[in-house]
Amino acid sequence: MLSEQVQGMRVTQALAGAAAGAVVDGKHDRGELTLEIDAARIAEVCRFLKSDKYERLAAVTCVDVYPMEPRFEMIYHMHSIARNERVRLKCKVGGERPEIESVFPVYRGADWYEREVFDLFGVFFRNHPNMTRILMPDDWEGHPLRKDYPVHGHKYSYSRE
């Protein structure tokens, strides 16, 4: 449950009014506010934050907490220049085919960040206009930043040829 300190913060209160029940957890740790959002409502929350002077989506990324389930934590670094305020949104997604709503329609800057997460973690974004790999080659197998993806080793065996 939300601590009193997190509940007292302006963003949390604004979100409680505009998107009741979307914030499922939160913490204020080392001066940084993290709010855990219901994964189904991320686009709605982002839309509200954009209207609440959060002009920028600084970055979208992901953390793999394998072997825990749900294994992927989607991270959205939101930034308001007008208020000089930052908040980090976190959504948990998991399952065989992890997927979440794209926030590209809200912040166009999410375009490449979501493609990167798809490429390196294999999280699929619904309603993204171009859900293709961005850093790895198009025919690459697997998603390198997953924790069960090896760091060493060759994809092909050269010795047999």
């Binding site: 912040y107 960040y113 790999r133 390198p144 760091v151």
Partner: protein
Amino acid sequence: MADTAILETPSAALSRRRTMTLNMGPQHPSTHGVLRIVLDLDGEVILKAVADIGFLHTGIEKQCETKTWQQVVPLTDRVDYLSNLANNLAYVLAVERLLQIEIPPRAQYLRVMLTEISRIASHLVWLGTHALDIGAMSMFMYCFREREEILKILEMFSGQRMMTSYLRVGGVALDAPRGWEKVVGRFLDDFPGKIDMYENLLTGNPIWTLRTKGVGYMPLEDLLDWGVTGPMLRAAGLKWDIRKDEPYSGYDKFSFDVPTRTESDVFARYMVRMAELRESLKIARQALDGMPGGAFQADAPQITLPAREKMKTQMEALIYHFKIVTEGFAVPAGEAYACVESPRGELGYYVVSDGGTKPCRVHMRTPSFGNLQILGPMLENTLIADSIAALGSMDFVLGDTDR
């Protein structure tokens, strides 16, 4: 009656096909690295530009997860190889926030001074190559001549010209070398004259202004929406600089201005960066004059390596040294995001720890990646020749983009 299509000559069929697709890069000299842009052309006009990145992807973020906390610092050098100190700084700030340790003022000043000097070096590479692309050959020579002086300063401090790895979690690697004030002071004295020379060559130059004014325009709302940061935003009129708005490493103790322009074209970006050169000099000068004495590393024996002398005489120091070198230090579980104003914009490191001696996740929010997203919209309906100027004004580094 014959079918008209059969009667048509090949050239007539060609002229009906209006557009042409052209591959620019990945080895095109003005893409500054390995960036591929697929251009749809109607004559000389670009209808659509799609950036294809990833040629320089080296999996640094994955590698970080296999290194100890301190071993990640040399990797961050290689992300943005033109402003490696900013990368070092963002990373160590994030880890220090997780550790909650206090950095002594001398280390903070050394960090600020060298980061500003390396910002000048980075802007010099941008200016030289940008001018070279537009045809001002001699600028390239002048800029690299001055950059050489900066690389000598960095070598003096760290032993390395480019991949300095000078910052440590808890401070800096070494104390400032003997005689550094003289060398840095001489550079800070000489450099303002050099900026005047660059401005003499370019700012009023009719060819330069014709090639840059009104080119590559983007409205501020689009820049913000696409995730652009840094000098490009300031050239569009937004007075936002992380050094001022969210001061880190003691930047609040320095007085400097945040230069802005409103035209948001290639020329405005040029003017902003030229003004930033002077502001960086101002900061470096204040750091030089006000350099505090004292320790250059935090008083945290389990994190920073002990002094050589202590190690030979004290049992405890020897044990700490052994532990740090063999297994590294543990960082309390948690997550932190630290961002700095790199020469290209917001450079943020998002670091997650599970309490162990290796990072659980290191995400680099690199400015070039965010800035390059605007490439498609910016190049639409411009001429091919102007695209070279527009690309140069974005000042991206492909190592920073692909990581």
